[in-house]
Symmetry: C2
Subunit: 309 residues, 2 copies
């Protein structure tokens, strides 16, 4: 069974890792948000791709949720001493990824090819695809200010209230991404932020249309648990956008796209009457065992759902 | 007395440091070759500026002659692991300079302003000026191949024989550089490689013409000692260019530009009949005391020469 996972940062990377650990590698494709990629001090930085790669490679930092385990901070400390740009915390190991990626991009390679190279070097055997080879910058409008995503997310610590998430026009998916959808038996929307992790992927032409047309099952896993985002600004953004921060809101938001919805046991009973199949599970992934468990449970749900269809 | 020093890499940085340590900071301007600057993995790297800055800041690596003391190599080791570009050995501390510089350049600052910023952060109180704010890439022709300078110098370890040093056209000096020459009482050509450190500076319009017109004394210090370059490819290049690798050749090479010439005691007697004033000194600078001693001696020579004129 060919599985595609749409993933943003931390939560998406965790579910992707669980799926990668229970299925044959050739059956798993992770399509990753690149809307929060940015140029920083000359380097091309792809935070979600890195989070997914580091998690799949087993080198993710479990404490921070981003970056690498065993990371050190010698360079960025010296950047501070030199009055340089230190708001984005570049770790010494992490920097190697950015340098290698930037070098290969400058050599004319596509982001897809570069990601393939980095995954191979990191020993990752599933397929990780950026949603597009084109820049596709997400912006955050707050009041009259439009922030580049990382400025809002990291430099401003996602504090400026969100009026609108501004996504770019005319971004196209790669052939590899389109082929992954066309051959998928199952698509998971990982428990990532719907506005700034998943929407940027759906916004890439023709991904939303492909997903609408897919005969196969699409299952979303809620990133909201007990009215809170497990990590990051999802719940805060929902309130600012006038949406109740609940799993039910997430299900409604994906409504026409999805065939199944997974939400947390803390919200038991809240999504009983959605009109689609649901499964109430423990969606918290504190460690590898949790990731594998949840992956198995969502796969069981998916298989049941495919049998129904 | 206002002093300008033209400097390339290691040897130039050492004499510049000696001069900086014996004169009031407001009287010293170091004009640095930027012909071997290059873009690498997205970063703008200025090897000679860095060598001069690190030396003046007291953080130069005395063992290697380049880079910083106490340097570590965590990032570049990981770049190797990721199959990235590791032929240029980026140290963890050194990377902070490149990131800060690249960031400020991308913000629209000039290389002159960026250098001023970095010098201030490093506690350097003399003036360090890049020869130009424009890119001015030196290239090395070897047979039919034209190498970017750092490719030849670092990646190829300066082994391909030099047929010609190719300097760019239409590079202009900054106003700060022109003003430094116009107000100088004395110009030193540091013991740097004449072909790839000093010529690239002289090639920047209108530096050569300004120096020809200068009423003030210009004194060169030979980088060749006992038929060898103290460091780097100068002697090898001279042989490949059909020039005897001697101090005398250096004096002849600078001939019309200079009023005085300093060469090493190992070559005593070899430059007696040049038709300009010469001084035979111990030019080897192994440590700070040597740098200060040589600086004092060349200043005494300069003062004698200015009295003569």
């Amino acid at each position: 069974m060919k599985v595609v996972v749409l993933a943003g940062g931390v939560g998406g990377a965790k579910l992707a890792d669980g799926i990668a650990r229970i299925l044959p590698p050739e059956d798993v494709t992770i399509i990753v948000n690149t809307g929060d990629d940015f140029e920083h001090a000359g380097l091309t930085i792809c935070p979600d791709l890195d989070t997914v790669m580091y998690r799949l490679a087993g080198v993710a930092n479990d404490e921070t949720g981003w970056g690498r385990t065993g990371e050190t901070w010698r360079t960025i400390s010296e950047v501070t001493a030199l009055g340089g740009p230190d708001w984005f915390r570049l770790g010494d190991l992490d920097l190697a990824t950015h340098l290698t990626r930037t070098h290969l991009l400058k050599q004319g390679e596509t982001l897809t090819a570069v990601t393939h190279h980095l995954c191979a070097q990191l020993g990752i055997d599933v397929t990780v695809l950026p949603m597009s080879n084109q820049p596709a910058p997400t912006q955050i409008q707050s009041g009259d200010t439009v922030y580049p995503f990382q400025t809002w997310f990291v430099q401003e610590r996602w504090q400026p209230p969100v009026k609108e998430v501004v996504l770019p026009e005319d971004v196209r998916a790669t052939q590899a991404v389109i082929r992954a959808f066309e051959t998928a038996d199952l698509v998971f929307i990982a428990p990532s932020n719907p506005f700034v992790s998943i929407d940027p992927i759906l916004n890439v032409y023709p991904i939303r249309a492909l997903m609408m047309d897919l005969p196969q099952a699409i299952i979303a896993v809620s990133p909201i648990v007990g009215g809170q985002a497990v990590k990051g600004p999802a719940a805060k953004m929902m309130q600012e956008l006038g949406l109740p921060p609940t799993s039910r809101t997430i299900a409604d938001y994906y409504n026409e796209l999805i065939d199944g919805f997974v939400y947390d046991v803390q919200d038991a009973g809240s999504c009983d009457d959605l009109g689609i199949e649901t499964r109430c599970l423990n969606t918290m992934m504190h460690n590898e065992a949790d990731r594998i468990r949840l992956a198995k449970e969502v796969m069981q749900f998916a298989e049941a759902l495919l049998t129904l269809n």
